[in-house]
């Protein structure tokens, strides 16, 4: 048994942090920029998440949306989904929040080095992926090429529009996005259709490719099928993020299990072959 502990703190105690900036991403999503009151760095790796605590509303897991290479703050992109996230949307700069973490297994950065990297996000999935994109942006030499593909439901739902433009014009990336449907009234002149269309259109050296996929549950199967068609059939070629209800973030509460795996500690980032055969994973 692990030995006597320090009584003044606990793994369940959140640390205070202060909201620096809030910006609207869409009518449902906001970006929060925060810093730890302790003054230290959060120390996240791309793909990790934090448990955001609001007294009275418990906690919710939220992925860190910026790369650790951007120092002095951390960002959370949050969709208004219920009570806690709804309360977050009411917060103003200067307000305080509690944070535990960062938790979880991050994107396997080492496995991407010198690869043709596909970063594929659907909907809210761009928030966690953004941390990886920024990371790639800040270390351009590490990868052979980086392709960003992003799908949203409608032009209105596109997250991080400024970033998208910035990435599209960046030398480091190729970046395309697409929306399921565009209402006639909108002034959107980009592509429409499913994200799988963008994947089909890629030309890459499949032996040397590695894809990272983050999106809502219904997106995974079709995207994986499309990636396979592209030739990403080997091991350690597709990485994805699985989200489950999470109460603790540290492998204790049991809400996030997929068979014998705990999404919060064994994931949220998995290699496809680690989870593909598990019932209910995809």
């Amino acid at each position: 048994m692990p030995q006597p502990l320090n009584d003044s703190t606990s793994i369940y105690v959140p640390q205070p942090c202060t909201l620096l900036e809030v910006s609207d991403l869409t009518p449902q999503e906001k970006l929060f920029r925060l810093c730890l009151d302790s003054g230290g760095e959060l120390g996240q790796q791309p793909g990790q998440f934090v448990q955001v605590s609001i007294p009275g509303l418990t906690e919710a897991p939220i992925s860190v949306a910026n790369s650790p290479t951007r120092r002095g703050y951390f960002e959370l992109g949050v969709r208004k989904a219920g009570t806690l996230t709804g309360a977050m949307h009411q917060l103003q700069p200067g307000d305080t929040l509690g944070i535990r973490g960062p938790f979880g297994r991050p994107f396997q950065l080492a496995a991407l080095v010198d690869k043709e990297v596909l970063l594929i996000a659907g909907g809210c999935g761009l928030a966690p992926l953004r941390s990886l994109i920024q990371y790639c942006q800040d270390r351009p030499g590490d990868f052979k090429s980086v392709h960003i593909l992003y799908g949203a439901r409608s032009p209105q739902d596109l997250l991080f529009k400024e970033d998208l433009e910035n990435w599209q014009s960046s030398e480091t990336f190729s970046c395309r996005y697409i929306v399921d449907k565009s209402p006639g009234s909108s002034c959107y002149d980009g592509e429409t259709g499913l994200i799988t269309r963008l994947i089909g259109a890629l030309e890459i050296d499949s032996k040397n490719g590695c894809a990272v996929v983050v999106g809502p549950p219904p997106m995974y199967r079709p995207v994986i099928a499309e990636l396979r068609r592209l030739g990403l059939t080997g091991k350690r070629q597709i990485m994805l993020s699985l989200e489950r209800q999470m109460r603790c973030g540290i492998g204790k509460c049991g809400h996030c299990t997929i068979e014998h795996l705990y999404c919060c500690t064994d994931g949220p980032i998995f290699w496809l072959e680690e989870i593909e055969h598990l019932r209910g994973a995809l």
């Binding site: 692990p2 502990l5 105690v13 605590s53 007294p55 009275g56 219920g82 489950r244 809400h255």
Partner: protein
């Protein structure tokens, strides 16, 4: 160190332990339910059914305050009582459950809140002829600090670790021969449900149990959550906040994977969205997922879920059903 005690010595021993621990001993509640209770120096129920309430509840209670957040947002961990628990009256099954739960909560990152109660606690086994109607309870293999073994007229006592030796120091030595006899008996002792559960485990691992089976079993479930709440190796919890003028108390509360909202996400997506999936999970998790992760099943065969289940679909009942329906009968 093996010692010989008579019943009076047990009271003396426990009396000394009670000075430095919060001692819990088997007793009968008003309606005859046998459970572990604070000791008032009076009669102890030395023989009988295993205590109804799971022993892990002492370290992981149903409602368990984790921390307090003051109105300025400052959080402090909940204090736990200074005196550690001493639990007397644990059989080998309950000790196995505690060992399982200990390992679960110690797995990195360790759950300091559990460990704060668990560290320094004294676990005292009660085995030998101490079962219902003085039936046999197999001896403990490690896992406890002290073990008292009922041998009929007298008791054998041994310490599970060096640091516990001193409790027994002044009693006369016990009969090693007698211990050996009991150890042989323990080795031969078979749990009534072990065969079924073992077989169910195999069949599940080989994916021999069709979904229709889970649908059928699940249709009997009235969603009481008792199977999970009674189980000593069930550790799932949800988190509740209660806000008052003086701050917020955040607690963890026993949860149950039989409930629809256990995994339901804010979007409505629910990986365990049907009764059948949840019922499968309850059994599969213990018999297949836990061995895969921890190297041993999460079911220690205590039988509590079968007792708590109002419709007769606890672990033993389901395992029996699986074993009898899906086992490929041997050629002879």
């Amino acid at each position: 160190m093996l010692k010989r005690l008579v019943e009076r010595d047990i009271y003396d021993l426990l009396g000394r332990i009670a000075d430095s621990y919060r001692l819990r001993v088997p007793g009968l509640l008003d309606d005859g339910t046998r459970t572990l209770l604070p000791w008032d120096g009076q009669q102890i129920s030395l023989f009988g059914e295993p205590p109804q309430r799971k022993p892990t509840a002492y370290f992981f209670p149903q409602t368990d305050p984790l921390l307090k957040i003051d109105p300025r947002g400052q959080a402090t961990p909940a204090a736990v009582a200074e005196k550690p628990f001493a639990l007397f009256g644990l059989d080998s099954i309950d000790l196995a459950a505690l060992a399982f739960t200990d390992r679960f909560f110690s797995n990195p990152p360790p759950d300091d809140h559990y460990l704060r109660r668990r560290n320094g606690a004294l676990l005292i086994g009660l085995t030998g002829y101490a079962g219902p109607s003085r039936g046999f309870l197999p001896l403990v293999k490690g896992n406890c600090d002290l073990e008292l073994i009922a041998c009929g007229e007298y008791w054998l006592a041994r310490a599970g670790c060096k640091s516990a030796d001193h409790w027994l120091a002044h009693y006369p030595p016990g009969d090693q021969e007698q211990l050996a006899v009991l150890q042989r008996e323990s080795a031969q002792w078979n749990h009534r449900a072990a065969v079924d559960v073992q077989q169910a485990m195999e069949l599940l691992r080989q994916d021999m149990v069709p979904d229709s089976f889970w649908e059928e079993i699940a249709s009997r479930c009235i969603l009481c959550s008792g199977c999970n709440l009674a189980c000593p190796t069930c550790t799932c919890f949800c988190v509740q906040d209660r806000q008052t003028a003086t701050g917020t108390v955040r607690s963890r509360v026993w949860d149950s994977c039989q409930l629809d909202a256990f995994m339901r996400e804010a979007s409505g997506h629910n990986p365990l969205g049907t009764e059948a999936l949840r019922t499968r999970r309850r059994i599969y998790h213990k018999l297949v997922a836990d061995p895969e992760r921890w190297g041993e099943p999460g079911c220690v065969l205590c039988g509590r879920c079968d007792r708590a289940c109002p419709t007769g679909i606890g672990m033993f009942a389901v395992a029996k059903e699986i074993a009898s329906r899906f086992a490929i009968s041997s050629p002879d």
